[in-house]
């Protein structure tokens, strides 16, 4: 009998090379394998206390918690499962703010945070909280002196991301943690792009809350975790989702055992393979940059050159508009925030916060490497980009004016909208 679910076999189409690992990562096949039994034969509700089905599922979620905790130097009991980093960030920021409301009414974050952190803070502003949005320096990092100055005895929580999703820079977590601890303020970090990519240690770094997303570290989508410190000092927070009181009452709902197992396995693999993986990714990144800079001038790497993860590059290709560049590299799946200001796609707020000039911000691409990237792909990506940029510069009036006619673009009276 024909299986009605089988799709007609289309001619295999060559798919673009995936270079957008900051948007999401494929699930590692080893993760999928670990998850599969928990969908079918081991389907029990981990909160069922009365029989084996429940016990084995609970045991599996406990193992997963241990793997997650291991990755960040925490204990299994500190880990709260959520649906992803968006929920973890919301729970951390809104949860702490509302628990301490009345005693404290101030939050500190930073302008380059992910939208879910910024929007959670905006929401709290409507609720009467004061929020300080720290600027960043030209390298994308926060200024620790400014952070220190912004803290008051009203400050409940500081939320600063570990690794930025657009430019890959690593914030000085240990310094931030130390400062917050000295001043008696909770420190939350959105580690969606950092967990499994850089070593994290909640003790050494004095981190009180930490958000993780499954699909950013080769785990499944729809699962995440929030580390909530239980002692020295204990963090209290108000739940957002109420119900059966699971997850120490902080996040009700039946745990999705297969997803929990997947996240746990993803964290376990990340911990064992991180050092080796980062070495490989660093060599790819260097190869890629060397190939590009041998062939092209006027490249600008956005964000600090040292304090960054190896798997991300945000590059401005001066004189070439980002969206048309994307059209010319159809064989690569990368991301661009640009297009002219009329098309509503504003240049990214992160690049603007760095003070990247608008004309350069329009020429930027985010390129992300990851676990399944190969050297061949890196070479092909570089070749493809070089060809596209060369072609588009040859038809760029700005390139002609600057490079061939020696005109300073700032002396031109533009007729922009």
């Amino acid at each position: 009998m024909n299986n009605i679910y089988t799709l007609p076999t289309a001619a295999p189409r060559q798919r673009p090379i995936y270079m957008d690992y900051q948007a999401t990562t494929p699930c590692d096949p080893r993760v999928v394998e670990a998850m599969i039994p928990w969908f079918t034969e081991k389907f029990g509700n981990p909160h069922s206390r009365n029989h084996e089905y429940g016990w084995e599922a609970e045991e599996a979620t406990l193992m997963a918690r241990e793997h997650i905790a291991d990755l960040i130097g925490a204990e299994a009991k500190d880990i709260i499962f959520t649906s992803g980093a968006t929920e973890s960030n919301n729970l951390a920021i809104k949860g702490v703010a509302s628990f301490y409301k009345g005693r404290k009414n101030h939050i500190v974050t930073c302008v380059t945070e992910h939208k879910c952190v910024l929007d959670a803070c905006r929401h709290l502003e409507e609720d009467g909280f004061h929020v300080t949005y720290l600027p960043v320096m030209a390298n994308g990092l926060i200024d620790l002196d400014l952070l220190a100055q912004s803290l008051t005895d009203q400050t409940a929580i500081v939320s600063i991301m570990a690794v930025n999703n657009e430019i890959g820079v690593i914030q000085p977590l240990a310094d931030i943690g130390k400062l917050c601890r000295e001043r008696g303020v909770f420190f939350h970090t959105d580690a969606a792009q950092a967990a499994g990519k850089i070593p994290l240690d909640v003790e050494a770094m004095n981190i009180d809350l930490l958000s993780i997303s499954g699909h950013k570290l080769y785990g499944p989508k729809g699962i995440g975790a929030l580390y909530v410190r239980r002692r020295n000092p204990r963090v209290r927070l108000s739940a957002i989702i109420h119900g059966g009181g699971q997850e120490r009452g902080m996040r009700s709902g039946t745990l999705p055992t297969p997803l929990c197992v997947g996240l746990g396995e993803a964290c376990r693999l990340a911990k064992t393979e991180m050092t080796e993986e980062n070495k490989r990714l660093t060599s790819y990144r260097d190869l890629f940059l060397n190939l590009l800079s041998e062939a092209l001038t006027d490249l600008h790497i956005n964000g600090d050159k040292q304090q960054r993860i190896p798997s991300n590059l945000n590059i401005s290709f001066a004189f070439v508009e980002g969206e048309s560049l994307m059209m010319s590299i159809k064989d690569l799946a990368v991301s661009s925030g640009s297009a002219c200001t009329s098309a509503s796609l504003e240049p990214s707020y992160v690049l603007r916060a760095l003070g990247v000039e608008e004309e350069l911000a329009h020429t930027s691409l985010r390129i992300g490497f990851g676990r399944f990237t190969t050297e061949d792909e890196v070479r092909q990506a570089a070749a493809s980009l070089i060809a596209a940029v060369t072609k588009l510069r040859a038809m760029s009036p700005l390139w002609e004016m600057v490079k061939e006619e020696g005109i300073d673009l700032r002396t031109i009276q533009w007729t922009g909208h």
Binding site: A339, A343, W414, G416
Partner: protein
């Protein structure tokens, strides 16, 4: 975004990329847009003694639709006289390329560039006649 085949054709094989001599009396140059906005279009025409556009070139910094719009504009301009050229509408470009709504302004930019090039040409001609006048 999905684009029409006409648009992709002009984007992938742009017609008339290049530059004409700005100093030439018979050449009109239009430069519109702004780098900070993410779009700059340079469009040039060369007009012969009969008042017909015998050559047109462009260079564009901008999205794919802006590049395709300027490519199409130069193609259409060639062989037209100035009043015909002045009547070229952005809507004709937008329709021919089947531009999606958010990309209509890219064709407006091309129309602006055509107008600016014609105006530049006319200004050069009027300067020529006034500067030649005393000698006559």
């Amino acid at each position: 975004m999905t684009y029409s085949n006409q648009l992709l054709d002009h984007y992938n094989n742009p017609r008339n990329v290049g530059s004409l001599d700005k100093a030439d009396d018979r050449v009109g140059t239009g430069l519109v847009g702004a780098p900070a906005c993410g779009d700059v279009m340079k469009l040039q025409i060369r007009v012969n003694d009969a008042g017909v556009i015998e050559d047109a070139k462009f260079k564009t910094f901008g999205c794919g639709s802006a590049i395709a719009s300027s490519s199409l504009a130069t193609q259409w301009l060639k062989g037209k006289n100035l009043s015909e050229a002045e009547n070229l509408k952005n809507t004709d470009i937008a329709n021919h390329l089947a531009l999606p709504p958010v990309k209509i302004h890219c064709s407006i930019l091309a129309e602006d560039a055509i107008k600016a090039a014609i105006a530049d040409y006319k200004e050069k001609q009027s300067k020529k006649t006034t500067s030649e006048a005393p000698a006559a």
